[in-house]
């Protein structure tokens, strides 16, 4: 025991230094990326591109389950995005409410025969509809099979080479599609592109559009704004220069359809189908030595509502981490495998050691620190200083996310919003962080028991009464969660 504690202490110290050095590297890598992306976003003449034939046509895939309350507004908003050629494929995934009837009434649907090959096997499709009033709209009515199954049905039915999966209650900014396709216009072998997800709580929303972005006044959704900024604006941008992202938001990611068809679409038995599909895509393309890039670009924005109660948030975080564990376990052969290039040598190891195991190491660190101080092995002043140092490092990373936001896209223009962001960044490491560690630890137990339940999610919606439904929520790390 006398030898074990110093060894564990040393290991934890090495882990701490290595992980934080890597975060430092991501931070550095994000600087040229955000600068380049801001330049490109500002310089290109979007109106000119919008009128051009060069824009690749795309399909927006919207799986919906019990979304009767909001489906009309959501689909209408999606049908009025600024893009030259696109279609919207809504999949009613065996809803038990009036989702299908509302779609029928709102968009004057008529049944059409299926003339596309069903390349990916899905649950039986009851009927396919087109809209008389909105020619861009296709609605698939199918038996319930989950989000992944709904997306697979939409991939089969899509007519265009690019597909984008969005949640029925995700609010897409009008020019977001235009921006999301920029990497395709700028060349390169783009396999997929990820956009930014932002927190819609407390924002003014009208007709499915965020009119006035605000930082929530309540602590829980507010602190998640800081998390999202950090995850998207520096985490993912940094990854662009370190071998590509392992995760592209299921809520807002663009994929080349042919690649999705080749890998068999989304896995229906995966807890985190969006992470799963990206890892499989990397794997497929690397194994076949097909050159590709999967960039993240920060300026296309979609807004989503995040949990505002501890109970819901805890279930959500536990699920996200459970999904991460399951995915990394499934693809464990990619770990340190040079066959998968930077993905196998950098990205997967980071996700295993820096993300998946982080809560375990952190808890062991707390326990060892307490033991060491109690037994007099470590000077209490040193322990406090070290804790402050660790907290300060976390604070630096969070404030860096705010700096990137401020110097680039500046969605939050009010001083009050900026002040709140800084306060949340300051307070995040006191209590909130420790809670997330505990929730993520619980995920190991759940993963061990191979738990497959989805939990419960209450959303207030945008302007409507609170509702409980099975939804597909989005994590800052980009993983889709089906919530019941």
């Amino acid at each position: 025991m006398t030898h074990l504690i110093p060894a564990v202490e040393a290991l934890i110290l090495v882990y701490f230094v290595a992980l934080n050095s890597f975060y430092g590297l991501l931070l550095l890598m994000s600087i040229p990326e955000v600068w380049e992306q801001t330049r490109l976003a500002e310089d290109e003449d979007l109106q000119k591109l919008m009128l051009s034939d060069a824009l690749p046509p795309l399909t927006i895939m919207v799986p919906a389950y019990n979304e009767g309350e909001t489906i009309q507004a959501s689909v209408t908003a999606m049908l009025t995005l600024e893009y030259r050629q696109y279609e919207v494929v809504v999949v009613n995934d065996g809803s038990k409410d009036d989702t299908m009837q509302r779609l029928r009434d709102a968009f004057d649907l008529y049944e059409v025969p299926r003339i596309y090959p069903e390349t990916i096997i899905t649950k039986p499709i009851r009927a396919v509809y087109r809209s008389r009033s909105r020619t861009r709209l296709t609605v698939i009515d199918k038996e319930n099979g989950g989000k992944a199954d709904g997306l697979n049905a939409a991939i089969n039915a899509s007519r265009y080479p690019l597909v984008i999966a969005v949640d029925a209650d995700t609010l897409i900014e009008p020019d977001a599609l235009l921006r999301l396709t920029r990497p395709f216009l700028l060349g390169g072998n783009v396999a997929a592109v990820g956009g930014t997800i932002r927190v819609a709580n407390d924002c003014t929303v009208q007709h499915g559009r965020v009119l006035d972005p605000r930082v929530p006044r309540s602590f829980l959704p507010g602190v998640q704004v800081v998390e999202y900024l950090r995850a998207f604006l520096f985490g993912r941008l940094g990854w662009n220069r370190l071998g590509g992202n392992l995760i592209i938001s299921g809520a807002f990611g663009l994929f080349r359809r042919e690649y999705l068809l080749t890998i068999g679409g989304y896995l229906t038995n995966s807890v985190v189908e969006d992470m799963d599909v990206v890892v499989r895509l990397h794997r497929h393309l690397r194994e076949r030595k097909i050159p590709y890039v999967m960039p993240f670009i920060p300026d296309p924005v979609a807004w989503t509502e995040v949990p505002s109660s501890l109970a819901v948030l805890s279930r959500q975080r536990e699920r996200w981490h459970r999904g991460l564990i399951a995915s990394l376990w499934t693809y464990r052969d990619m770990l340190f495998n040079p066959r998968y290039g930077q993905v196998g040598l950098v990205a997967v190891p980071f996700y295993v050691f820096g993300e998946m195991l982080a809560p375990v190491v952190e808890v062991i660190g707390y326990v060892i620190a307490v033991i060491a101080v109690a037994t007099g092995r470590v000077d209490p002043v040193f322990a406090i200083l070290f804790f402050l140092f660790a907290w300060g490092y976390g604070l630096c990373l969070s404030i860096w996310g705010v700096v990137l936001e401020e110097t680039s896209f500046r969605k939050y223009r009010r001083s009050g919003d900026l002040g709140r962001l800084l306060v949340y960044a300051l307070l995040e490491n006191f209590g909130y962080r420790q809670c997330t560690v505990w929730w993520r630890l619980k995920a190991f137990w759940a993963a061990w028991r191979r738990r497959k339940t989805w939990g419960e999610m209450t959303r207030t919606g945008f302007g409507g009464p609170p509702r409980q439904s099975r939804l597909y929520a989005q994590s800052p790390s980009g993983m889709w969660q089906k919530v019941e």
Binding site: L55, D379, F382, W400
Partner: protein
């Protein structure tokens, strides 16, 4: 200072450095906001003045030098952006006068020099400026920028074809076409379409090189011009040994009504490659010559699903005769033809209009 440096000292130093870093970040946020606000307030009146001058010039009430001097007062990024925006609003014949006026300004010179910069964003700004206000002397620079390794730069430079009629520029763009990803190539083709006066003879020349390995790609983009004078070239390409080239020829001929196009497409409808047959069926549907009816009806029994669908959709454009052919095949002995015609006959006019494109 002689004392021992302990771990506590190291952590303390790190904490102080962190504190300074956080303070610097906070300062950066505040300064950034302040600078942005000040810059916005300073630029707004100058920008409005430039807009006013542009409006007056477009209406014929202002001198071109007044516009140029108003632009010079703006930060170069904003000036280039306004220039690009107005270039699509002012009549093309009046634009060269402004380009000439700007070529004399030192501001224009500075932007021109950016074309040789090692920094891509400087080359981008230069390309955007020259694409909107380039003069004849800028053609070699623009041709070089079209071949720039940074995609944003060559995309900006190729827009020059909208205003600068130059064979050298068009040739540079056409040379790049086979190497470009499809969507970028389409953007280039769109610019070449606007500069068709100089692009068509060059395409004509390139399409005559039967042994060019990039012929299929060149034909694909040339087809986008829908240029009748290129029709003989496409008719000749219908006999090319490469199936990709034949498919592109079939695609092009569908948009070029002529008896020779019809004859070539009918030949291609019996091609050994199904991609060529499918494109030929589509092309015949667009032209809808009565002579194609038997061939398209036969194509309904093609072993390839895609050819059958294209043929059935094509027949819907032949009016009553096409519909009769579809109905007869729906009751015929061939299962493939039966299934396809059943599907297509079941489509509503709206769905048909969408699927048939």
């Amino acid at each position: 200072m002689g004392g021992e440096v302990t771990a506590r000292h190291l952590v303390l130093i790190a904490a102080v450095v962190q504190g300074l870093f956080v303070a610097a970040l906070l300062l950066l946020i505040v300064i950034n906001r302040w600078v942005r606000l000040r810059r916005r307030d300073a630029v707004r009146p100058r920008r409005e003045a430039a807009e006013e001058q542009f409006r007056r010039w477009a209406a014929g009430d202002a001198d071109v030098d007044a516009v140029a001097s108003a632009l010079v007062r703006l930060p170069s990024a904003i000036a280039v952006e306004r220039l690009a925006a107005w270039s699509s609003l002012v009549p093309t014949d009046r634009w060269p006068a402004l380009a000439q006026a700007l070529s004399r300004a030192s501001w224009g010179e500075k932007l021109r020099r950016g074309a040789k910069s090692r920094r891509w964003w400087k080359r981008l700004q230069s390309a955007r400026f020259l694409a909107a206000a380039g003069v004849a002397e800028d053609v070699p620079t623009l041709a070089r920028l079209i071949k720039d390794p940074h995609p944003a730069v060559h995309l900006a430079a190729v827009s020059a074809l909208n205003y600068v009629s130059s064979a050298e520029l068009a040739e540079a763009a056409i040379d790049e076409l086979p190497m470009l990803p499809i969507h970028v190539g389409m953007y280039f083709a769109m610019a070449l379409k606007r500069g068709r006066q100089v692009a068509v003879p060059l395409f004509d020349q390139r399409l005559s090189r039967m042994d060019d390995p990039a012929l299929a790609r060149i034909a694909e983009y040339a087809a986008r011009l829908q240029e009748p004078s290129l029709r003989p070239r496409f008719t000749a390409l219908a006999k090319h040994p490469n199936k990709e080239v034949r498919a592109q020829a079939a695609r092009a001929l569908g948009a070029l009504p002529h008896t020779e196009s019809q004859a070539a497409l009918l030949t291609l409808l019996a091609d050994e490659a199904w991609v060529v047959r499918a494109q030929a069926a589509r092309g015949l549907g667009l032209l809808a010559p009565p002579a194609a009816l038997p061939g398209l009806r036969k194509a309904l029994r093609d072993p390839e699903w895609w050819v059958r669908l294209r043929a059935a959709l094509a027949l819907t454009r032949f009016g009553g005769a096409g519909r009769d052919a579809l109905v007869q095949e729906e009751r015929g002995p061939n299962a493939g033809a039966r299934n396809t015609t059943e599907l297509v006959l079941g489509l509503s006019p709206q769905a048909l209009a969408e699927y048939a494109t």
